[in-house]
Symmetry: C2
Subunit: 132 residues, 2 copies
DNA sequence: ATTGACCTTCCAGCAGATGGAAGGTCTATT
DNA sequence: AATAGACCTTCCATCTGCTGGAAGGTCAAT
């Protein structure tokens, strides 16, 4: 599968896919003419990368997540503990997004105009815990 | 409130806070000695920025979100439509995180070792829709 | 065999920070 | 009053994560 198709299927620009290869995230096969040749498994990895990058994980975190995804020896304790840390991080991100959603929704639906600076619901949501 | 305290309360490094000022996201007061002086409202903005950046929104998107948060004229149709677009984007991000969470959870809890390449649940989750 | 849409590598530049140097300020202790 | 240490300031260099463009090879169709 050529890089253009891989790009379409993964949602990542070709440039970015090549870059990910440069930094060692992915190692596609090559055809005789030198073109990169992506397998279906490669596409899964690319989609996986696309998703985790767009959700605010750094490239290095994505490398970890990807290795969890690919690791044959997922039994080992340290791999599990990395995975569990990532799960907690994902849970935190989900909670933050839900909070942000609530804030924005509230802004659109219920608050308008000058009441904003004093609106207790917004204060709470913006704070997400206590600011002093 | 000095920048060090603002950094603690917002979860953003001082360097980043100054950078956000450079690019015009924030305009704190200054005390007589030239030190930046952050109000409680500034801290809310910084936390807001910290959250939205960490969730994969670009600085420009954060600028939009922040202006929604601050906009006194939230009644206007175009502001509402921006906000609604952002809401849809947040919903999409939540769905992706939930999917990613399910994938990772499944990997840790149920899959181990060689079955991975053929596990249909993982295939489905990694695909999130169809890969041809 | 030429056109156009692909692909390749390489190198430059932008976005979003991040680190360090050089120096001023504040508070406390000597 | 002076010295120390922890703050703060600006400025400039560097890093990450792409992104664009040039220069050139490949492929399928006309």
């Amino acid at each position: 599968m050529n890089i253009g198709i891989a790009s379409e299927k993964s949602g990542l620009p070709s440039k970015t896919i090549r870059y990910y290869e440069d930094i060692g995230l992915l190692r596609p096969a090559r055809t005789d003419n030198g073109y990169r040749d992506y397998s279906v498994a490669d596409i899964h990895r690319l989609r996986f990368l696309q998703r985790s990058r767009s959700l605010g994980f750094s490239v290095d975190e994505c490398r970890q997540l990807l290795s969890l995804y690919q690791d044959k020896d997922r039994e080992s304790a340290d791999v599990k503990s990395i995975a569990e840390a990532k799960l907690r991080e994902i849970d935190r991100k989900i909670a933050e997004l839900v909070g942000l959603r609530g804030l924005l929704h509230h802004l659109v639906e219920h608050c308008h105009g000058d009441e904003r600076p004093d609106c207790p619901i917004i204060d709470e949501l913006a704070g997400e815990g206590m600011v002093q």
